[in-house]
Point group: C2
Chain length 86, copies 2
């Protein structure tokens, strides 16, 4: 069993309207030092196999096809073997 952590971020050149909106709220609440907020996704899941190569392959495909939008997002990942949860 592997535990996967995937971080999906918009490419720096791509505008982040959600980040902009949150930052406007920050100004209203007086958080004037906050700059350049960018919001991405933090995804955790388990891969039920003991074969690291197969786990990595499945993780990459899952990330490319479902967890991120390759046109405007990049992802980075971490894969860690864990004991089977009963």
């Amino acid at each position: 069993m592997f535990k996967a952590t995937v971080i999906v971020k918009r490419r720096p050149t791509i505008l982040d309207p959600q980040g902009k909106a949150v930052e406007q709220g920050a100004k209203l609440l007086g958080f004037n030092n906050v700059k350049n907020t960018r919001i991405g996704k933090y995804i955790e899941f388990f891969i039920d196999t003991d074969d690291r190569e197969a786990a990595e392959k499945e993780l990459k495909e899952y990330s490319e096809k479902l967890l991120s939008n390759p046109i405007m997002e990049d992802f980075e990942y971490h894969l860690e073997q864990v004991k089977q949860k009963n």
Copy 2:
């Protein structure tokens, strides 16, 4: 200037419908080993001060009031001093 990274996650006891929906898609695409997907937020921003205590205070308040929902989410953060961007 400080660079902040905040990870917002739903508490383990709270259902994650978004994670469930993505995982159903995974099954349809044949990713049968993927289990227990949970989706959170990965937020990056800068805090324009050289006072670490002030930066940490502003980061915590910003995270509690705008970036997370304290009723169902927890957050963890990382704060790193960086050179001023011109």
